[in-house]
Amino acid sequence: MTRLLASRLAWGVFTLVLVAVIVFLATQALPGDAASAILGSSATPQRLAALRAQLHLDEPVLGQFWHWFSGLVQGHFGTSLAARRPVSDVLGTRMLNTLTLVVVSAVVGLPLALWLGVRSAVKRDRVFDHVVSVGTLTLAALPEFVVGIALILLLATQVLHLLPAVSLLQPGVPAWEQPKALVLPAATLVLAVVPYVARIVRGSMIDVLEEEYVQMARLKGLSERVVVLRYALPNAIAPAIQACALSLAYMTGGVVVVEYVFQYNGIGAALVEAVDNRDVPVVQAIVLLIGAVYVLLNILADVATVLVTPKLRTQLRRARRPAVEPSLATELPR
């Protein structure tokens, strides 16, 4: 297990380094630099030169990259070119805001998806299943911004006036203390991921429900509830874990669009703006963060899959020397 984790982590770090290099090259390929982006057409050669000197944009590209990279290794994300403050300073609250949004969406969305998927599988080809199928397929076909705009029209501006159309967060106040601003963006994210996870769960549940041991359990006279929750679900959970992890990772990226639609002040909105301003250190930091979340979630999902799949567990165990055995027992709760 430890070896699996270590190798996964090593690959993860390697992936992130690659991401850093590619993003740096991509930002260099964009036309214009931060100074011309910030000054826009009000730029004069004198003002551009002064700003470039202030932002150290006149240094060679390789030097800039090395300066940034060596800082990163020591835990510094550099200084934002647009805000002229440390990147960690600029992104601190915004990261918390995004995290709040993703966690709230996950806490609401994933159990909902699980429930919908399991129930659809159990009620296969009945009305509930058909309704959920049509609903999830429709939602899955719609991009988030369409869902977001529809929610705004429905709940904020045209039909009902229940919720704020734009998520204006009070600066300096944590997002979770401003729940009204969270509802619509979180609902949009929930509607974006629920269909995907629900359909995966339904599919894998249907496979499992057709297995012989489920038939056996039913023949033994166990209640349907016990059959579904104790016999079928644990065996159907592995694909669901993968789907949940992918969804969470997707949310972290998809949050860019949702935050833009609602002007929710998180890292997604910050990314759009940083690209506009050619604020390379901020772009780098955000892309690396999103990349790190992807990598971590994938590792966690792999580990969790191993944990809930006895076959994979024993394979790992067999590959190990007996001396490691005791510690493994403590690693694996059951």
Binding site: A37, S42, R47
Partner: protein, 534 residues
């Protein structure tokens, strides 16, 4: 250059927006007259304390304003405003010696008078007496000198540094506590106009950006770049205490988010209402549209120094190809007025005697034949840098076919348009805000101008310009400007098809917004005149 920032503000339109706008155009135009009449009662802005509808305004309340164009680059620097919200903040916090009022006419500000002393090289600025900054410190000659020095600081030159360069650090002398004498290295008969730019505000000598002090209608309370800023009323404001208690300026970059926030009651006013949303706001019953005729222009720029446009006949043919009313209707949704290939519409020297140029395909064809360019093919570089820019290019390309001219559109992002290719495109577009004539000339039509996209270089024009700058008599100066405009009208490198409206919106719960011809949104951001009616 322009009175606001360009380049990073991508306000692109989709084809659907275009269609909606074309439909909305007629409706919007027919409603415009009534609307302007309805909100025109609150004064023209020429007197320091306009009355009018102010009677119905109650005291107190906090105005929440949603503005596009902001980012984490936002700053409170009085002399380096970068984004639209920054510009709106300079109007709240700081004051200038003179003012471009909502009619785009010059008016005295902190200065009681700005008078030439003998020639256009010597200027005496007399301050109004008894003025104070937010912290109680006096607005005096020392503050004026310190502010101009701050703008000219070579390490961080302000927006106004180029126009004030002729002052130099030794060009100012304190005559008495309220009087400063400026000695310019070059004549400038429009020096008061330079001092009236909103980015040349007067701040105390010990100005500290962390605790910004000015003499404007609102005092600083807090500021988070890219998010929002708050200001509270300055009761000693010399043009009359604001009716509001406070103003909150909120960054709302996305167009539809701004409209949604207004319709959902989260903000009381927004800038840059998309044309397609005008009917929706008007019919909502909770919102009003602030439509202002301005001198803003979106020119086509033809390089006069390279083929095919180095031939004046070809340039004239291109200008004759344009069906201007069609540009107004299709590219700008009716939110514009026909222009005559000239800028500086509200300048007292604007030459309105020149006949309005209209489409003349036959004449265009014969000019092209004379130039040997009957089957002319050109590439036009366009961008969605401002509303209607790409659409204007598409309309022109369509119209040019009638004269046998093929215009191939090359659409780029605004970063490319203003990137390393800027000033090199043979045929492109740009956008400019409202300015007085000579101030625009120095920016864009002299061989020495930093933004001479058309590479226009006419010796007589330059000599007329220098005479005008030295001419203190307004009548004679206007005659010189007339001559300059005649040259531009005949051989210039710009096609200026229209002057475009500034369209903003506000909640019906507030009143006091005045349309501003300057093109600065929300009536020169004149929030001190605004208040709640209910």
């Amino acid at each position: 250059m322009d009175s606001r920032k360009a380049g990073t503000d991508d306000r692109g339109l989709t084809r659907r927006d275009m269609l909606q706008r074309a439909i909305a155009g007629g409706v919007a135009l027919s409603g415009a007259g009534g609307l302007i009449a309805a909100c025109g009662g609150s004064g023209s802005g020429t007197s320091p304390n306009p009355g009018g509808s102010a009677a119905t305004i109650k005291r107190g309340g906090t105005l929440r304003v949603g503005l596009g164009g902001g980012s984490t680059a936002d700053t409170l620097d009085p002399h380096n405003p970068l984004t639209d919200p920054d510009i709106s903040r300079t109007f709240q916090l700081y004051d200038t010696l003179a003012i471009n009022n909502t009619n785009d006419q010059l008016e005295m500000g902190l200065a009681q008078s700005i008078e030439p002393a003998g020639s256009a090289k010597e200027w005496v600025v007399k301050l109004r007496s008894g003025l104070t900054f937010h912290n109680g410190a006096p607005v005096n000659a020392d503050a004026v000198i310190a502010s101009v020095r701050r703008i000219l600081n070579p390490k961080s030159p302000g927006r106004g540094s180029a126009a004030l360069a002729s002052v130099g650090s030794n060009g100012m002398k304190k005559v008495d506590d309220l009087t400063v004498r400026f000695s310019l290295s070059e004549a400038n008969s429009e020096f008061p106009r330079v001092l009236a730019e909103y980015y040349n505000g007067i701040v105390p000598p010990d100005f500290d950006l962390a605790h910004p002090i000015g003499s404007g209608p609102f005092k600083f309370k807090n500021f988070t770049a890219g998010e929002q800023s708050e200001f509270v009323a300055f009761s000693d404001y010399y043009r009359g205490a604001p009716k509001l208690d406070a103003v909150v300026i909120i960054d709302l970059t996305e167009d539809s988010a701004r409209v949604n926030a207004l319709q959902g009651g989260q903000v009381d006013a927004i800038n840059d209402l998309p044309f397609s949303q005008i009917p929706a706001v008007k019919s909502s019953g909770t919102g009003a549209v602030l439509q202002a005729d301005t001198g803003n222009w979106v020119p086509f720029t033809m390089r006069c120094d390279v083929p095919p446009f180095n031939d004046p006949d070809v340039r004239m043919a291109m200008r004759l190809i344009v069906d201007r009313p069609q540009v107004v209707g299709q590219a700008f949704g009716g939110q514009a007025q026909v222009a005559n290939d000239l800028f500086g519409r509200y300048d007292p020297g604007y030459n309105s005697e020149l006949p309005q140029r209209t489409q003349d395909i036959d004449q265009a064809k014969s000019l092209l034949a004379k130039a040997g360019k009957s089957d002319l093919t050109v590439q036009l570089t366009t961008s969605n840098a401002t509303i209607g820019m790409v659409e204007e290019a598409q309309v022109l390309a369509q119209q040019a076919k009638a004269a046998g001219v093929t215009i191939n559109l090359r659409q780029v992002t605004s970063n490319v348009l203003y990137g390393s290719g800027y000033l090199k495109w043979p045929f492109a577009q740009n956008y400019w805000y409202t300015r007085y004539y000579l101030g625009q000339v120095v920016e864009s039509t002299l061989p020495t101008s930093g933004n001479n996209e058309a590479h226009f270089d006419d010796k007589r024009y330059v000599s007329l310009y220098q005479q005008a700058l030295a001419e203190l008599d307004e009548g004679r100066r206007n005659d010189l400007i007339h001559e300059m405009q005649k040259i531009e009208w005949n051989t210039g490198g710009y096609i200026i098809a229209s002057f475009n409206n500034q369209v903003d919106a506000y909640s019906t719960k507030v009143a006091g917004f005045v349309p501003a011809k300057t093109g600065v949104p929300l009536g020169n951001y004149g929030f001190h005149l605004v208040g709640f009616t209910a």
